[in-house]
């Protein structure tokens, strides 16, 4: 491929973990004592093959291992993966912040990376001064910043406060200013980490729009990392899924997102837990699964389909008063709902006997908006406000809107706002 602009071959990054399993810095004294010990041992046993204090306690950790992929010019690649899968390390290697241990990356064109918004912002300096400073840190030339200055200010929407130290800015204003500078980077390759997550939803859209605009106009290549699956899915054409430091699959973004959401097909539709993993001496979680109404296990649901969530749990004490509950969190981290099986019989408690129980509930179709959701589980004794287990991220599923036969949508084709999208009953009548 002649239009390959990023070529990654056999890339690996190793970290040495110290005894405490941290990357803590070393004190000079430790190094000196270790050195002295070795020298001492060498003197005492000059013919020993190796000093016995050799770093046996050293643990190696490969954050990236044999990563291979390439990106064509103008492509928008979404890099996804669970926490600790190596996304950030990959971006750091690509932006030259840290050096790889093995392998090689070849890059054609200028790269700018946006791993954080407002890197180098100084809170005592004014907005104007910070635009220049941040621009320079991101690799823009002074003339370039000057040329785009008015556009940057306009995009950020902080005109009135331009000469005020940014320590008086609200956090939203600071982020907007920072992103406005970044939006005007005109390098051929842009690497963006989870930075969009900090802005408000309106501004996120504006930023993605701006990035899209720049991309279409100039054929810029973008590498985008985010946990916000709907943002990745709407912005990127191709996806790369990282698992434990290696590329587990590359391909069309929607298939990659689906794979990420479920670990592929049905396999993400249930999770079981060993005894004692989640729970205490009253109750413990055994299994959770999600199904369609037909009973088929799934992780992708059409927006019209009901979703059945079932929790299997063990009650370990007689007369326990237990209330299972579920909660849903969307991809922007918002809590969408909390629901408890709380039948208030008599004194507000329900006594259960020892045994295994299955509690399930149905989230109706035409209720959630499209996007990705994480299912959280909890078991509480409400009368005493005791929590027996609390699992915020037990499973996740996607609600998909195929835009056809979606009663909540009608003929409208644009993005549909709102945390939920219930199908409400409307009455319209002529009154005069």
């Amino acid at each position: 491929m002649s239009n390959t602009v990023i070529k990654v071959e056999g890339l690996g990054k190793k970290y040495n973990l110290t005894k405490k399993n941290t990357l803590a810095y070393v004190s000079l004294r430790d190094s000196l004592t270790m050195y002295a010990k070795r020298v001492g041992e060498k003197i005492a046993h000059p013919f020993a093959a190796r000093p016995s204090s050799a770093p046996a306690s050293k643990n190696e950790f490969w954050a990236l291992r044999d990563v291979n992929f390439s990106v064509a010019q103008g492509e928008k690649l979404g890099v996804i993966g669970h926490n600790g899968a190596g996304k950030s390390t990959l971006l750091k290697v690509l932006s030259r912040i840290t050096e790889p241990t093995t392998g090689r990356v070849s890059i054609k064109g200028r790269v700018s990376s946006l791993l954080e918004v407002g890197t180098g912002f100084h809170y005592e300096l004014s907005g104007r001064e910070n635009i220049f400073l941040n621009g320079a840190i991101l690799g823009m030339r002074r003339a370039e910043i000057k040329r785009n200055f008015d556009a940057i200010v306009e995009f950020s929407g902080v005109e009135q406060f331009l000469d005020m130290p940014i320590k008086y800015y609200s956090s939203g204003m600071t982020v907007r200013l920072a992103f406005a500078v970044a939006a005007f980077l005109n390098t051929e390759i842009l690497i963006v980490d989870e930075v969009l997550a900090v802005g408000d939803a309106e501004f996120q859209k504006k930023c993605i729009g701006k990035m899209d605009e720049v991309n279409h106009k100039e054929g810029r290549t973008v590498l985008f990392v985010s946990h916000n699956m709907s943002a990745v899915a709407s912005f990127c054409g191709r996806g790369l899924l990282l698992e434990q430091g290696s590329v587990s699959s590359v391909g069309d973004i929607s298939s990659i997102v689906a794979r990420y959401a479920g670990g592929g097909g049905e396999s993400g539709s249930s999770a079981s837990f060993p005894p004692g993993f989640h729970g205490d001496d009253e109750a413990e979680l055994i299994e959770v699964n999600i199904k369609k109404e037909s009973g088929q296990r799934a992780i992708d649901f059409a927006i019209t389909e009901p979703i059945r969530i079932s929790i299997k749990y063990r009650v370990k004490q007689e007369n326990a008063s237990l209330t299972p509950g579920i909660f849903l969190t969307n991809s922007t981290g918002e809590r969408v709902l909390l629901s408890k099986d709380a039948p208030f019989d008599g004194d507000g408690t329900k006594k259960t006997s020892r045994g295994v129980y299955l509690a399930s509930c149905v989230i109706p179709g035409n209720f959630l908006n499209d996007g990705m959701y994480a299912i959280g589980l909890e078991m509480t004794t409400m009368t005493q406000a005791v929590s027996h287990f609390y699992v915020p991220n037990a499973l996740s599923f996607m609600v998909l809107d195929n835009m056809e036969n979606t009663p909540t949508r009608g003929l409208y084709r644009g993005p549909f706002q709102g945390v939920v999208r219930p199908l409400l009953k409307w009455d319209s009548e002529k009154i005069s």
Partner: protein, 299 residues
């Protein structure tokens, strides 16, 4: 030749890279990221990031005295107070010889380069760890950090230099014609401070101990450098050894520039100081370049 022309730099880079790597079948790549890569185009990189260098210095200068009542006056006040103390204690009470020069001028002409050196050293030594957020989030040649903080101290120096001029005017003291050599000694101080700064800023990333060594060095250095006295009080046979402290050459040089023949230059000593600071600068830059690629992992 227009250095600000991006395409010129790009062409230069292509030329350098082609010479070093040759072009492969896939065509030419601007950048190859590999382990243990010795950045062949380090100087080009520095030219490309020169604006950032000045921006960082500019930021620190701007930010330094924001939200202070006295503002920029601080950079005058600090050496002035130190000069006052030295004048009273050594000049008036201990009655050190002042070689026919007003004692405040004698002290101040040594105080200035010393203040510059110690400020530059302190600032540059902590420059990497105090900006760890930038190190882990964005790439640029890391050596810009300690180097730009030296510039900040240089601006302070220039401000307090005005105070020295005022002092000389006050005492009606005319400096010798050698004053035109002063930039050379200023450069010598810059090189020594930057050299030690490179060493320590890189070492601090891994060994935080060095952070505690710097204040000690600065305090100790004040007494072993000829700030409160003239280096002519050092016995002749120790003088060359004494001049291995690069600040001896700098301070003696400053005195010579102002007092002229009243404070003759000890040339072997100056040579020793120059060699020492050049060695510090060169080895410091080399050590810094060798370790900078691990900064983001250790910081």
């Amino acid at each position: 030749m227009n250095l600000s022309d991006e395409s010129f730099i790009l062409k230069l880079k292509i030329a350098v890279l082609k010479a070093l790597k040759g072009s492969d079948g896939d065509g030419y790549y601007d950048m190859i990221i590999e382990p243990n890569k010795t950045a062949s185009a380090f100087l080009i990189e520095l030219i490309r990031y020169r604006e950032l260098f000045f921006f960082l210095a500019w930021r620190d200068i701007l930010a330094r005295y924001k939200q202070t009542v006295l503002g920029i006056a601080w950079s005058v006040l600090r050496p002035f107070c130190a000069m006052l103390v030295f004048t009273v204690i050594f000049g008036r009470l201990a009655k050190f010889p002042s070689e026919g020069v007003p004692y405040p001028v004698l002290v101040f002409s040594a105080m200035l380069p010393w203040q510059y050196f110690s400020n530059a050293l302190q600032e540059s030594s902590g420059s990497i760890i105090s900006r760890s957020a930038m190190i882990t989030k964005v790439y640029f040649p890391r050596i810009i950090m300690p180097a730009s903080t030296v510039i900040v101290s240089a601006v302070d120096f220039l401000i307090s230099f005005a105070l020295l001029a005022f002092l000389m005017l006050w005492y009606g003291f005319l400096p010798s014609g050698y004053i035109f050599f002063m930039p050379m000694f200023f450069l010598l101080a810059t090189i020594s401070a930057a050299g030690i700064g490179f060493w320590i800023s890189a070492l601090v990333v891994k060994y935080r101990d060095f952070h505690h060594i710097v204040p000690f060095m600065v305090q100790f250095g004040l007494y072993v450098s000829p700030v409160g006295f003239s280096s002519s009080v050092i016995p002749e046979r120790w003088r060359l050894l004494y001049s291995l402290n690069p600040m001896v050459g700098v301070i003696d040089g400053f005195r010579w520039c102002i007092q002229g023949e009243g404070s003759p230059l000890y040339l072997p000593g100056l040579a020793a100081s120059v060699v020492m600071s050049a060695a510090l600068f060169w080895s410091g830059a080399k050590f810094f370049r060798r370790t900078e690629r691990f900064f983001a992992d250790f910081i």
